[in-house]
Symmetry: C2
């Protein structure tokens, strides 16, 4: 590979926002400021949409103050998009890149974004256009291949852990059944993260259901019954993509069978449906008075002021490393690996080929899920705990001896 | 009033948990430790339930370390209850108090709890039993009379502000319509608090609906349309107790008319219903593609690690002052008033009669709601901002000039 050319650069953010995708953006900006090879750094508004229609802002000379505020802000500071461009779309992007003399392209996103990066890279190569295209990982779902974990996950995991610590204390104070539906259509990492705040044996969540393991509604009800008989309360978390033993997701099953909830309503769709349906099932089958259900929704990915410091730092590193790699390589994706003796948490970044990240996604390994498919193992806690960067201490006094 | 007698004391927590009700509990415990008049301080488990069935723990000698952790924990550390005891129930409580030589009773809760405190006080007086009964205010709804604001509100308000700051940034990044349903059946304070993070003119939430002002569904749709035409996006917050111009709450109206959502489903009840229904209405009437709706649920009142420092400090003061007042007075409720020139936020506590807090609740004053009934005024922001104890800084770069 020859030395890095002098050229302009584009950075963009794609897919669902996270709590630290802006830290990666800041990493790109601050590292680009150090390399004379990068002349102007453009931010493409709303990902591929801005790249195609030539909608850019100039990020070259942002001050350190502004950069710190951006790095601490949730969501995507230059907008995002859920578009999945094909080759023709990417050819139009390359035309804009040519006009702007873009030699470097940094794309922060999930595996679809790695794929876009891959297509753009190929389209450029085919056209004989010199472009260095780098993907920077982000996703709250933690489902990217190659990397040990994804920037964005640690912060969302912290949200889930703090939420369930509070929710479990609430459920101790006012006992009953509480059901929380968590983001995650295919991978259960985020749902699993709800267990990270558990300290005592009877701390909730007591039951955790992830899409990697099918569970029948009968098994679910019987699990809840078992916990309630033992603890007189039960806190349950369920991935939105939870499926039955036959692999059909619960929400689809509810819609297909036209099953009715405890109030006799047909529940088909809508964000609150799964939670409300499950609450109805528990009420109806177990005759429990106090049953409550929440769907966490978008709070999980964009809550101002809540970041994992570890996650934020790593997200920023990934952005910086993408720029460093671009000085040496033509394309790639930034990935994280754990190093050292496994006692102290320590990571190194490395470069992998775009194609390795673009094509598939990752699910939770078997060892993170208990044999019954209704709980999370110590192996997951060991894996995920360092990523949340610390959790608050809490105390419930109800376990004190009666006098 | 004669000097305070030597006797044991009971403290209990009642009604819905909050983020700082434990700080009030700690205030009572640490102040009780300073007064030799209070011998043993009992914590009644699950409020009146524990008081009636003699279910107590000993809180007299908790260490400073444990107290700090408890003060930082959400929810009610000695359990709570939603029971509304009558006179007969309170007579049974007095029997337990007699057996335990209880001379002081501290009850942390909302107006129903003030009422329980009032009944217990009266029952004791009628029986010639010497008891000093004090109510300590708490509620996320901020709806207690006499006091300027309620401990618990500032922390919940901080949650709402941070949530909407993040949600608005998310909506900027992925434009569309976002609807958030917030706790509050009768008082709109918590829903109004969602505006506290707004800095720029086009920051969301753009529309805010509170139960104090009835709004028709037609007006709601027309409001959303207006904002979308102007900004090409819209963030809306709605109190769960939102009502029509005739005063009937929207959820009841939906159920009564059997109105169908965009998917043709009859939506009657369940926690996600109002949000899903409104999303359906917007989709159907305005033909907007991206419409999302969240119901914040219990996250709003019990999220570990998120407290307003101002709220926490005041909640603790209220607990301490209740004990101090009990050394001088027979009964009362602790209240907060603002003092000084109005420039710097400063408060003093004072005692009011139980009956003043027990009977009714407060709604948002007219001056906090705009003339159209779809927004919150500067007067509310001036009132509520000091209570959240600071908000994070955030930045969105999409307003930068295009290059």
């Amino acid at each position: 590979m020859s030395g890095a050319p002098k050229a302009n650069a584009v950075v963009a953010q794609s897919g669902g926002p996270t709590g630290v995708i802006n830290a990666s953006l800041v990493g790109v900006i601050e590292e680009a400021q150090k390399h004379a090879e990068i002349e102007t750094l453009y931010g493409a508004m709303h990902a591929v949409a801005g790249m195609k229609k030539d909608d850019f802002i100039d990020l070259t000379n942002l001050s350190a103050d502004v950069l710190e505020t951006v790095a601490g802000s949730p969501s995507s500071a230059i907008g995002t998009s859920r578009a999945k461009p094909d080759e023709a779309y990417c050819e139009e992007i390359i035309e804009v890149f040519k006009k702007r003399s873009i030699g470097y392209f940094f794309y922060i996103g999930g595996n679809d974004s790695a794929n876009t990066c891959y297509i753009i890279n190929n389209v450029a190569a085919k056209a004989g256009y010199e472009l260095r295209a780098f993907h920077i990982p982000k996703t709250v779902d933690n489902d990217l291949l190659v990397t040990d974990h994804c920037p964005g996950f640690g912060t969302a995991a912290k949200f889930e852990a703090c939420a369930l610590m509070g929710d479990d204390l609430d459920n101790r104070a006012l006992p009953g059944v509480k059901i929380d539906v968590i983001m995650g259509r295919h991978a259960g990492f985020l749902t699993a993260a709800t267990v990270l705040g558990r300290r005592k044996d009877d701390d909730g969540p007591h039951l955790v259901y992830v899409p990697e393991r099918g569970v029948s509604m009968d098994k679910f009800i019987s699990d809840v019954d078992g916990v309630c008989r033992k603890l007189n309360r039960c806190v349950i978390v369920v991935s939105e993509g939870m499926c039955d033993v036959d692999g059909v997701v619960w929400t689809k099953k509810i819609a297909d069978t036209g099953e009715k909830d405890a109030h006799g309503n047909i529940q088909l769709s809508g964000t609150g449906t799964l939670a409300d349906f499950l609450a109805g099932q528990v009420k109806e089958n177990l005759k429990i008075g106090r049953v409550r259900a929440d769907t966490f929704g978008y709070l999980q990915r964009s809550f101002a002021g809540l970041q994992s410091e570890v996650d934020k730092r790593e997200a920023r590193w990934c952005g910086r490393h993408a720029v460093q790699y671009a000085m040496e390589e033509v394309s790639g994706s930034v990935a994280i690996k754990r190093v050292g003796d496994g006692k102290d948490y320590k990571v190194e970044l490395f470069r992998t080929e775009l194609i390795n990240v673009a094509e598939n996604t990752k699910s939770m390994p078997d060892e993170f899920i208990n044999a019954e498919g209704n709980g999370i193992t110590r192996a997951f806690v060991d894996y995920a705990m360092p990523l949340v960067g610390g959790l608050p201490e809490t105390e419930y006094l109800g376990g004190y001896p009666r006098v």
